[in-house]
Amino acid sequence: MKHHLTRALAAALAFSIAAPVFAQTELSFWSWRQEDVAAYGEIIAAFEESHPDITVTYTAHEAKAYNTILTTALAGGSGPDIIHTRAYGSLENISGAGYLEPLDGQVDLSTIPDTLLRGTTLRSDGKVYSVPFATQTVLVYYNKDIFDANSITPPETWDEFMAAAQALKDAGITPLANGTADGWTIEVASGAIMPNFYGETFFEEVTSGATTFDDPRYVTALSRMAELAPYMPVGFEGVDYATMKALFTSGAAAMFIGGSWEIPSWRDAGLNVGFMPGPAAEAGGTRMVATWLDGGYAVNAASPNKEAALEFIRFTATPEFAQMLADKLNNVPAVQGATPTDDALAEIIELQENQTPYIMLVAFRFNKPTGSTLLQDGLQQLLTGSKSAEEVAAEVAAGIAAAE
């Protein structure tokens, strides 16, 4: 009898000691980024160290199937506790359906610039549903060796840019690797050139409805794009993304306008590359870079572990997390306050002082036809010379007005 009692006591004692360990909350975290599994392992380990009662399991799905897998799971009332989401229109598919927990008042979002929060805000209720994680920036890359060999200094204004392009062309070098066969690449290029001509306030005005795309400032910006055509490769209408990259990495072309995601591939190719923002309209003018948000981190509204999941989401909004994102994943973090060890990342963050939203993706990819479809078709026709800047601007404006 006594024996039984001690045994029961021992069991009770053991249970009371073990209880906190058993109360561990296990969070599941889904993403499409299979290439980042190892880095997220380290980031999660850092989180678990400061939150010993929570464990997080990172699962990366196949990128193209991710949206389908996620929405199917969410529609079935399941899905992970923490969700790596895309931004803008793609996020609206799930935030608008009520699958995500609104974060306002629950997470300190003051570390993130408003232009980026826009990417994870649902337009219908104005609430933020995901903590922005990383940005892409449109840059003008140049081959330093070619510039040096032709004693060209990186141009700062549009006139200098045109003069540099002409000098390169005279030297028998293709000034710009960009083509128009893949419509999205010319839209990206417009993100470097056009903002400095349509100006800082245009985005606000066109999204609020104060102006439309047939605005004279937008027409001017488009006509600058048309001036690039003579400096693009011969047959640029048929030059696709792969050819653009081949031209630039082989040294056949001196400049390449593209996104910040290109940097690792230039490094792999052993290229001596510098980058700059698009040229200013005139001397002393601002040189803006177009940026957009790649995605964010959200909490499943149906999660049974909402509080623990929110705790992880709060962690993703800290400069400490941003620092790891920069160092371990080589991403430009959306959360401010990180000082990346990588020089290029640090430089991009500096350029982002003058950032402007990448206009069609950020504000006009919610309805059909999308602003991107309209602008890509328009730019292709503008550069081949089959339409004027005025005509393209009018068509974009009309298309946006009719989109639903």
Binding site: A181, F236, T243, T373, Q376
Partner: protein, 315 residues
Amino acid sequence: MQTADYARAKRARARNLKLWLAFLLAPPAFILIVFVFLPMASAVLYSLYDWDGLVRKEFVGLDNFADILFNPNKNSILFNAFWNNVKVFTSLMVIQNGLALVLALLLARNPRGYRFYQVVFFVPVILSTVIIGFQWKLFLNPVFGLVNKALHYAGLSDWALPWLGLPETALPAMLLVNSWHWFGFPTLVFLAAIHRIPKDFIEAARLDGASEWRIAREIIWPLMAPAVTIIVVLTFIGSFNWFEIPYIMNGLEGSPQGSTDMLGLLFYRTAFGSVSAGGSDFGAGSALAVLMFIFIFIFSVIATKYLTSREVELS
């Protein structure tokens, strides 16, 4: 007694045969039902609902059909794609099948190297469409493509165009690629049909002094009608379902400016979404798929009926 045994054995054999046939037919029937008929039925069902991305909302009847057909903002894209499919069908009939007919008529006369040509013409058919699309995309590349290099060496630099990048040349270039890929197939079918025509007919006509043209037009052509029926119907179905070559060579958007847009690409963009063209809409996508199916089905039946009626029976 013996006859009763015989009858029983015969019945048993008939039953065995039926069982055996059922056994053989069941697996393909099962696969057809699960992977063809059920998805078709579900597409019809999906097309009657409103969709929010991949989440099914309320029943909307034929609204999706009305929207893609009569909404002035959307139907211009649909009609552009449809018109391109019409161009594809007529061009392939002329270029691909016309070339095949000429080659079949030539091969039917047993020229030197007959077997060699027959194999060579058929080789592109057995290559994968993905490989062909990709390979021709490289050949047509304006910077390092074979086609423009060859034009330069031939002194025709002015003719070197960015073939896939101009709205005027992109579709014709793809049609030539498709014809190059497939012409061997109709050639072989036509050739087999010509070989089926009894030699005496042709020899008799030749003895009577008929010209080669007249023999081809009045003896070979009517007697190979069944083969023509098959090829026309297959080309029709293939043209209106055309997807692989335009997708591989110029992407989902039918670039440049919708000049290579096809119903198949439009369906894919609508149902599954694309980076530039926006999110997915299963309702409208399914409705488009149903319309494509109905159109192709009805026209194939009519075409088969009409073309079969002009076939001549060889007795």
